[in-house]
């Protein structure tokens, strides 16, 4: 009775919907005021110091060289071009790192629970040591301790005078397309498609008739035969450009710069320790009863792993795996410490120094990492949904 006698305002204050709307409005207003203050403050400061704003600098000539470029580039290209060169270098080392860290990580993770005592202990020590040393130190280790002790170009380590390893990097023959190359490539693509079709056919036949087919060896046979026989039939369509020592360095061929190698190794090894633990915990998260059911039904160890354990471990492994892939991509920005020309080093480093347009450049760089990360995690979420369990 007493409660009902309250006037309109008091009733509004105690209404949960009105209350939550009110507080949200207050927070939003505060946030807007904060942002506006910062922006106007920045504009005034830039104005008084005479720093130009806007993205006009992207079309000015850069005037500096970059040690590794996946697209055509030299000093006369624009700052806009340096952005893409840096971006591609970042994507290159991230992609290489993700693939190799996954392969190595799965191997380490499976070894960690192997029945083989030695393998188990080695991978345990590997994980415990390497994930507890800071990544930057590991990059320095590979760059300064390992790669800098390699011989000078003149005394290169060599494999059959075709591959050379020295302090400047790894030099390899570069394949070059000759006439007949398109035909040869078409043959190879056809063979790969053929192998896929064969695999699906063999699986269908196994399901329908129970007969098995040696898919692996048949596929290897088809691919090798196409590669070798096709090479000669199409008239040797690939020639190699061999690296040669001219003066102080090698010319020709293909090369991996030591900065890329050091960064790639460090990212791979550091991230593989985390992936190893994710794989181990994923496999161990599958209840032991599943293993017993498989054995009681007569499934062998390989079938048990592939048909029952891994599909279930997968759904536990994917979310943490995603964050490792994101970490690796973001960690690749440590490249700047050894001068690998990634996005941060080339764009948020050199370009920023030369133009002074910190806000634009840092914003663009952040947006790039944000976009890459969101794309990776969108893909992984889609994949996760596909392997999720139906509970009810």
């Amino acid at each position: 009775m007493k409660l009902d006698n309250r006037n309109g305002l008091t009733r509004l204050i105690y209404n949960p919907t009105v209350r939550s709307l009110f507080f949200q409005a207050v927070v939003l207003a505060g946030l807007l005021w904060f942002l506006l203050t910062i922006i106007s403050n920045v504009m005034t400061n830039l104005d008084t110091r005479g720093i130009s704003t806007g993205f006009g600098f992207l079309s000015q000539p850069a005037g500096f060289g970059i040690s590794q470029t996946l697209i055509e580039y030299n000093e006369t290209f624009t700052f806009g071009r340096t952005f893409f060169v840096g971006l591609l270098n970042t994507l290159l080392v991230s992609a290489l790192g993700i693939v190799s860290a996954t392969v190595l990580g799965v191997f380490v993770g499976v070894s960690r629970i192997s029945p083989n005592w030695l393998l188990r202990k080695i991978s345990m020590v590997y994980i415990e040591v390497l994930r507890n040393i800071p990544l930057l130190l590991q990059i320095f280790f590979w760059y300064y301790v390992v790669l800098q002790t390699l011989p000078r170009p003149r005394d290169s380590l060599t494999f059959g005078e075709t591959v050379f390893i020295n302090i400047r990097g790894v030099f390899m023959p570069k394949p070059m397309a000759e006439s007949g190359f398109v035909v040869y490539m078409t043959l190879i693509v056809a063979a790969i498609i053929g192998v896929f079709v064969l695999g699906r056919w063999a699986k269908r036949r196994m399901i329908n008739t129970g007969q098995q087919f040696p898919v692996f060896w048949a596929s290897v046979g088809i691919l090798v035969a196409t590669l070798v026989i096709g090479f000669f039939i199409t008239g040797r369509p690939i020639a190699f450009d061999y690296p040669e020592l001219r003066g102080l360095n090698f010319r020709g061929g293909m090369s991996l710069i030591p900065e890329l190698i050091a960064l790639w190794f460090a990212l791979t090894i550091y991230t593989s320790t985390y992936i190893g633990e994710i794989v181990r915990s994923g496999i161990q998260s599958v209840a032991h009863g599943q293993t017993e059911a498989c054995r009681a039904l007569g499934l062998n160890e390989k079938q048990r792993m592939n048909l029952v354990i891994l599909p279930q471990a997968m759904r536990v492994m994917i979310p943490p795996m995603t964050s490792q892939y994101l970490n690796l991509t973001k960690n690749s920005s440590l490249a700047t410490a050894i001068g690998y020309p990634d996005l941060v080093s080339v764009f948020a480093g050199t370009t920023l120094n030369q133009t002074g347009q910190a806000i634009e450049i840092i914003t663009m760089t952040m947006l790039v990492y944000l976009t890459i990360s969101l794309l990776v995690s969108a893909f992984m979420n889609w994949f996760n949904k596909r392997v999720a369990l139906v509970e009810r």
Partner: protein, 249 residues
Amino acid sequence: MTNEQEFIITLNKVNKWYGQFHVLKDINLNVKVGERIVICGPSGSGKSTMIRCINHLEEHQEGEIVVDGVVLNNDLKNIGQIRKEVGMVFQHFNLFPHLTVLQNCTLAPIWVRKMPQKEAEAIAMKYLERVKIPDQAHKYPGQLSGGQQQRVAIARSLCMNPRVMLFDEPTSALDPEMIKEVLDVMVELAQEGMTMLCVTHEMGFAKKVADRVIFMDAGQIIEQNEPEAFFNNPQSDRTKLFLSQVLGH
């Protein structure tokens, strides 16, 4: 090999230790084709361990186990051969949660027996009908009740067309009202002549279908007899005490 025809399972002086702990002590057991055996006893007496040794989920250290003429040793081929012929139902069902009920049932026939998928599915449907849940074939285990899951697990084992079925406390994890639906399926299976070894505390089931009841305590077979004699006239004091506790309420 004189027993080959007569006995489908033979345990001869089987001993097993967990570290220092002696779980199975000189177990001797012969099971005839079509015989239905119920094994009871207090927890920790080694009943589960004994039947789990028969399909090598546990390894025995001494003695000889022969199943369907195959000696159970460390030879992977022998182990695989025995597991094909021996079905097992677990206390916690252990269905594969990422596969549908039908896929649970066809997995082993397809991959172990190398059976065509169509044939495997037809057989699976036959057994799902027998356990009275053909309409759940395309659901996932997580969508079923405990009793339904256990019946799927029985169907899954039967799809391998085993010669022997082992039941390891199949009703212990179930709600009271679901126990009956599982026991009904097991009774039917027993009446059709399946060789069964069943660890259970369901004494009603033992009285109804068992040819022999075995009482185990502290890793030994204390007493075994036909159900009538076993329940009405137990010989050892340990059995009497156990029965008074199980049947006393």
